[in-house]
């Protein structure tokens, strides 16, 4: 392998880009820790659809989406969509995550992800970053919530479009999108 290939391989493997639960794949059980500190396996296919959303308590980009995340939850949880909002950043303390959730007025619990194992399996790189699983646990959407940090500049509400498509049994028109956000701070691997 040439120098270029090695450099990229080191970078991407270090950042956890294996992405076991890639677009089109069926997610398996994964573990999350609830705000009480209880870690449990999560069934990826319990109902209509599941949104797995990686956020941060300190990332300004992620925090600019707080209201939009609450709106998403309010609009879709009543339609049987489950939301798993996850903080995988290993440099953010539990108290910080709890305080942030309280101040943000989140209508749902924020789960922790010990050793960023769930982020690694999903291949999540940044915050905010969303994954949408259908009722069969298949990853049907991966990417941003929408296309602009400033709500007034939003042209495409990507995650909403994807959820609507899945709930209506349609193909997701833009199943994978990218967005600028903060890197998820992962645990150092000792291997």
């Amino acid at each position: 392998m040439g120098r270029a290939g090695l450099g990229l391989a080191v970078l991407w493997s270090a950042a956890g880009f294996g992405q076991e639960f890639h677009l089109g794949a069926r997610a398996a059980e994964f573990k999350l820790t609830d705000p009480r500190g209880v870690t449990a396996a999560v069934d990826p296919a319990p109902g209509n659809a599941t949104v797995v959303l990686f956020i941060s308590a300190v990332c300004p980009m992620s925090n600019d989406y707080v209201i939009r995340i609450n709106d998403l939850y309010r609009d879709y949880s009543s339609r049987g969509v489950r939301f798993l909002v996850v903080n995988s950043n290993q440099n953010e303390e539990q108290a910080q995550v709890d305080d942030h959730a309280r101040r943000a007025g989140f209508l749902f619990p924020v789960y922790r992800d010990p050793n960023n194992a769930a982020a690694d399996r999903f291949g999540a790189q940044s915050t905010p970053e969303a994954f949408l699983l259908d009722g069969g646990g298949i990853v049907r959407y991966h990417g941003r919530i929408d296309d602009a940090r400033n709500p007034a500049r939003v042209k495409q509400r990507s995650l909403r479009l994807a959820i609507d498509a899945v709930l209506e049994g349609r193909e997701v028109a833009a199943p994978e999108t990218k967005a600028f956000g903060c890197v998820i701070k992962r645990a150092r691997k000792t291997t």
């Binding site: 450099g7 950042a15 300190v58 790189q125 600028f180 956000g181 903060c182 890197v183 992962r186």
Partner: protein, 156 residues
């Protein structure tokens, strides 16, 4: 003594502010091609990104040390237009003197894929190109300056 009118003073103050050039996906490709013959480090950053702000003065120092050997540092801000002034000010404060851009993609997905298909757009992100304009290494997330310098020196 020359007295400037208020509008003239305002215009002078505006002109004194460093401006960031807009760059889209096709502009990025042209930028890479234009730097052929030099080793280029492209830093994607934003004023809201704390690790990016920590990294910028260190990158300015790195370019200053290695400029005579052929290193060029280019910055691309992912800020919104309303943060342009703050971004330009921070670049000046950090000692950045090279080309500075503000990302204005026609299509964000296409822009990010143009830079590196595996990159999600997460910041900070640095991309190292060799003298032939080939992407050699990518650093996504905060990276120690010694690691970056080591990679750069291998190409000089």
């Amino acid at each position: 003594m020359k007295i400037l009118s208020l509008p003239a003073l305002f215009a002078t103050a505006l002109l004194a502010q460093p401006q960031l050039s807009r760059i889209d996906e096709s502009g990025y490709q042209k930028l890479i091609q234009s730097q052929s013959g030099r080793v280029m480090l492209v830093d994607f950053w934003a004023t809201w990104c704390a690790p990016c702000r920590q990294e910028l003065p260190l990158l300015a120092g790195l370019e200053s040390r290695l400029r005579s050997k052929g290193l060029r540092l280019v910055t691309v801000s992912a800020d919104e237009p309303e943060q342009e002034r703050a971004a330009a000010d921070f670049l000046t404060k950090s000692g950045i003197s090279g080309p500075a851009y503000l990302r204005r993609a026609k299509d964000d997905d296409k822009f990010i894929r143009t830079v590196e298909p595996k990159w999600s757009g997460a910041l900070p992100a640095l991309f190292l190109y060799d003298r032939r304009g080939r992407l050699v290494q990518s650093f996504v997330g905060g990276t120690e300056i010694a690691v970056i310098e080591g990679a750069v020196r291998k190409l000089l």
